[in-house]
Symmetry: C2
Subunit: 327 residues, 2 copies
DNA sequence: CTGAAAGCGCTTACAG
DNA sequence: CTGAAAGCGCTTACAG
C-alpha cells in the first residue's frame, strides 16, 4: 500500500480508501481511483486482512464447532454453513470436539483469541460454563443440533422428541412390541429427547422394559454397540425392532446385526435417525428420519448475520423432520 | 494487556513476554511471572491473536481447499487434516470449490489475504495459473488427491493408475468382458489416471469399446449418470460391469441401476473407487478401492509443517491403495 | 478532493 | 531483571 502510494505520489490513506471501496466517502477523483486500481493489479497487491481486522475489529470470519466433520451429517451441515458464509463474505474456521469437553474448551478459546465475529457450535455435555465465556464477551452465537437448556441463547434444532415418538408409533403400527433403543449416553437435548420420546411412547403403550434401553459411550462406541446388539439378540424375550439414535450408531449397529446373522426385517426392524445415501441401493427396509440439514446450516448463518447486524433478539428455532422408508 | 501492566505497575512488554511464554528470554523474575499470570486469569484475559499475527507475520492458520466437504471422502480427509493441525497448534479455514474454477480462484485469494501460513488444496481443472500465485508468494503448499503436472510442487496422491488397472484385471478374472467406465470429464491427474488405467487394460485385452467410456460433467452429474446407466443398459452388446470413478458417481449410478432394475451382480458387476460405510450391510457385492485417507490427510499437514520449518525440498508422495470386496 | 496522524493490540530489538 | 519505543499494515476521523 505504501508502495502504491509512493509510486503515485499520494498518501496511504487515499490508497486505502480506493482499495476498500470507500472512494465516494473519501470523495476521491475518478482518475485517481483508476490509477490506484490499475497499479494495485500490476503490483499483484493483496490487502492484508489481518491488518484490516486489527484496525476495524472485524475479522469476517466465523468459528464452527462440530462433533466430527467426517460424519456425513456434520459434513453436510458444515458444507451449507460454509457456502452461505462464503456468500456473505465470511470465512469459516472449523474445529471438531469428538464429544470431548477439553477439545470443546480449547476450540472456544482458539476462536475467541482469533477474534471470530461469531460462533456456531454443537454443544458438548458439560460445556455450559465454557459457552458462557462466549456470551459474556457478547460474541454472536448460535447453537445447532442441540442446545443447553440453562442458557438463554439462540439455537436451531429439530423436533427430536416428537419425531422419535412418531417413529416408535410407526413400529407399533407394524406390530412391533419389543422395541430397543440404542442411543449415546449423552445428557444433552437432542439425544435425551430422542431417547425420551421413545420411552414415553413405550410406557404409554405398556411396552416399556428398561433392558431395551442401551446407552452407549461415545469414545468406545463400536465395542459397546456390538455388545448391545449381542445382548438384544440374546434377550430371553425376543426383541423385534431397534431404534438407532444417529447415523454412526446405525452404521455400526447394522454392521454387527449382519455379522451376528440377525435378519432385517425378519428378525428385527430398524429405525435410523438420519438419512444415509446408500439407502437408495442397500437392499434392506429401514424407517429413517430425514433432517432438514441444509435449512439448519443456512439458517444458522442467517441467525448469526442478524446478530452481527445488531439484532440481539434471541431466536430459538425448532425445525420439522420427516419419517421416511427405504423400501 | 495494557490493563494488566497498569495494575501491576509494569510495562506492556513485560506482560507480553510472560504471557507468550518467552519469560526466560526476557529474564523476568519468577514472582513477576506468577503475578502476571494470576491477574491475566482473573481478568479473563484472552490474547488477541490478530494483533500477534500482524506483529509476527505468522497466523498459525492454514487454508484447506476441497471439492466438497459434504462428500464423506473429503470430510474424512479434512477431519484428519484438522486433528493433526490442531495438534501442531494450527487452525484450519476450509473452503469448497464444487469443481468451479471461479470458486477456486476466490478461495485462493481469500486465503492469501488472510495471510494463512500454508495451503493444502485439491486442484480444480484449469487452476494452474491461480496456484502459481501461491507459489510465487512462497506460501507453503501441498496438493492433495490430485496435482498439476506442470507445477513442480508438493503433492500427496494415491496410485490411481495402477490400482484402476488392478480393478479391471479383477473384473476380467471374474469373466467380465464388456466393462464400462463412468468417470468425471475432468482432465486432471487422479481422474485421468483412473480412466486411462481402465482403458489401457481393456485395450491390451482387446476389450476396448469407446461406447463403454462415459464422461460425466460435475455440475449436472445426477442427470448425466442416469443417462449413462440407461445407455449402458440398452447397449446392443450387453455390458457386464461398471467401474465408477468416485463414491458420488457410484452412489448415483447404483441408485439408477436399482431404479432401472439392473441386478448386481447378475446383470452387471460394479467397482467403486472409495469405500462406503454402508458396504458393511448393503447386501450387494462390490469391488472397491480403499484409499489411505487418514494417512493422506496427516501427511499433508506434515509436509506443510516441514516447509514451515524451512525445509524447501519438494516432496511428491504416491501412497498405495487397496482392492477390497464387500462380500 | 487529499494528506498527515493516530490507533488497533500485540512483539521485539535495544537501552539501561 | 525491566522499560520505552518502534513497528506490523491497515482504517478513519480530522484538517485543510
Amino acid at each position: 500500500m505504501q508502495d502504491i502510494a509512493d509510486k503515485l505520489g499520494i498518501s496511504r490513506g487515499t490508497v486505502s480508501l480506493v482499495l476498500s471501496g470507500k472512494a465516494k466517502t473519501g470523495r476521491i477523483s475518478d482518475e485517481m481511483q483508476a490509477k490506484v486500481k490499475k497499479l494495485a493489479k500490476e503490483l499483484n497487491y493483496h490487502p492484508n486482512e489481518i491488518a484490516r481486522s486489527l484496525s476495524t475489529g472485524i475479522t469476517k470470519s466465523i468459528g464452527v464447532i462440530v462433533t466430527d466433520i467426517s460424519n456425513e451429517f456434520f459434513g453436510k451441515m458444515v458444507f451449507y454453513i460454509q457456502e452461505r458464509a462464503k456468500y456473505y463474505g465470511y470465512s469459516v474456521i472449523t474445529v471438531n470436539t469428538n464429544e470431548c469437553l477439553n477439545d470443546f474448551d480449547e476450540a472456544i478459546t482458539v476462536l475467541i483469541n482469533r477474534q471470530v465475529d461469531g460462533i456456531i457450535l454443537v454443544p458438548v455435555e458439560g460445556g455450559n460454563e465454557i459457552v458462557k465465556r462466549v456470551i459474556n464477551r457478547k460474541i454472536p452465537l448460535v447453537q445447532i443440533d442441540r442446545f443447553y437448556r440453562d442458557l438463554n441463547s439462540n439455537y436451531i434444532v429439530i423436533d427430536n422428541y416428537n419425531i422419535s415418538r412418531q417413529a416408535i408409533e410407526v413400529l407399533f403400527d407394524e406390530g412391533k412390541r419389543r422395541i430397543a433403543v440404542i442411543c449415546y449416553d449423552i445428557n444433552l437435548s437432542a439425544l435425551t429427547e430422542r431417547r425420551q420420546g421413545c420411552i414415553d411412547v413405550m410406557k404409554q403403550r405398556g411396552l416399556f422394559d428398561v433392558e431395551l434401553i442401551k446407552n452407549i459411550g461415545y469414545d468406545n462406541q463400536e465395542k459397546e454397540i456390538e455388545q448391545a446388539i449381542k445382548d438384544l439378540k440374546n434377550s430371553s424375550n425376543k426383541v423385534d425392532a431397534i431404534f438407532f439414535c444417529s447415523r454412526k450408531v446405525f452404521l455400526a449397529g447394522v454392521k454387527y446385526m449382519v455379522q451376528l446373522g440377525i435378519k432385517i426385517p425378519e428378525d428385527m426392524s430398524v429405525v435410523c435417525f438420519d438419512k444415509i445415501d446408500a439407502f437408495s441401493f442397500a437392499n434392506i427396509p429401514v424407517t429413517y428420519i430425514e433432517q432438514p440439514i441444509q435449512q439448519m446450516g443456512e439458517k444458522a448463518i442467517d441467525l448469526l448475520i442478524e446478530q452481527l447486524q445488531g439484532n440481539n433478539q434471541i431466536k430459538q428455532l425448532i425445525l420439522n423432520s420427516d419419517i421416511k422408508f427405504t423400501i
